[in-house]
Symmetry: C2
Subunit: 235 residues, 2 copies
């Protein structure tokens, strides 16, 4: 099953192709460019170089967050448009799970984190067992200060990956940070996980895939603020 993966949940713009568990191509750019500018040309180049016909894609897999509002919107809109055009299924993959998939080693607790703004972090915990990635703890929001104690409580070697740059110094001994090469979202992980999740559910209809934003859009926040102000002035 030829699968196209897209990850634009963070500043990294990543696209990849795999077929039946075999990686075919991966293309990641981490230059802080806007995804609206980069995603489609990057996809186009991937198809040009691999010689794969877009129409042969059988499954679309996209990273659905937690992540940035605009990044997720662009990734999901592009993935939806491709799935709709080709009439193929579209699977959404958790961004934190896809990050954990970058380090396929047993015996360590993987702690992917993403910056949830204002000193908060999205955190989930995963572990590999016999070639499969399992969720040990589902996603929650914690402060940078709490993170170290939460991880220490597991009494296991922990590897933090993702957006840990701001809190590296506050992490306790025993918690190691993954190198940057495996800390970036990879669309190959998204494609492989999407395919794994789709297998056995070939008849499933994926409607209304909803992205998981780190925070609401500026417009929504401003609107709420204005409603509050209006309510106050009415009093």
């Amino acid at each position: 099953m030829l699968t196209l993966g897209i990850d634009t949940a963070t500043k990294v713009c990543a696209v990849a192709l795999c077929r039946d568990g075999q990686p075919l191509a991966a293309y990641e750019i981490n230059m802080g460019m806007t995804h609206s500018e980069g995603l489609v040309p990057q996809l186009e180049q991937l198809f040009t170089r691999t010689g794969i016909n877009k129409r042969d894609i059988e499954l679309m897999s996209v990273s659905i967050g937690p992540g940035s509002f605009t990044g997720l919107r662009i990734g999901l809109a592009t993935a939806e448009a491709i799935a709709y055009s080709l009439q193929i299924p579209l699977v959404g993959v958790d961004t934190l799970k896809a990050l954990a998939y970058n380090i396929p080693v047993e015996g360590v607790l993987l702690a992917p984190i993403l910056d949830a703004q204002k000193g908060n972090y999205y955190l989930a915990l995963y572990e590999w067992k016999q070639g499969k990635l399992y969720e040990v703890e589902s996603v929650k929001v914690v402060t940078g200060g709490e993170l170290g104690n939460i991880l220490l409580a597991y009494m296991k070697p922990v590897v933090v990956l993702g957006e840990y740059a701001k809190i590296t110094d506050s992490l306790p001994a025993g918690v190691t940070c993954a190198p940057k090469t495996v800390s970036m979202p990879k669309a190959l992980s998204v494609a492989m996980l999407g395919m794994e999740e789709h297998l056995g559910k070939e008849n499933k209809k994926y409607f209304g895939l909803e992205p998981f934003y780190i925070r609401r859009s500026e417009a929504e926040e401003l609107w709420e603020q204005r409603q509050k102000n209006l309510a106050k002035s009415d009093e």
Copy 2:
């Protein structure tokens, strides 16, 4: 230091850019295409999409084997041409070490292998300690049958990666195979390792980088055979 990495030691054609330990872009194609056809266009697309000027590259890093004759020749020739044109240093990185760099986790023994033909495998052993990758055993050639016992002797969890496809079934319990996503050579690993190895040796001159072929070229083997036959007919 803006570093360009190239890995064409296997069937994978991989190029990547990093700056001062920060991954900027990576582009890998694993379609069994010839590198002479794919490498330069892939590099060109990388520069187009990142907007990075080729002339700004400060260090060239290339995977020097073990690997296939033609692949290494094309990679090294391209890397040498770029280094020569831009008058920048060129560092050679061991292909097995670059493979081990794909799995940056402590507490496991990493066993990258590459198919050395005729039932033989190139094997080296590596381990991460405090964020650095150390060689535990340098490269040697072993048969597929010997491999399992060699790895078991270390009495540690071992992860095999690379070209293990033909011997997966003969590996003993306790030895796990890394998923295919991290088993392919990655030029980002080559770029990062090249940069690490170059730091502190900025004045070193890298002359006469020699690739490490898995086997000699067909032409060399035929020539030797002919010499032997000629010697016999002289007797």
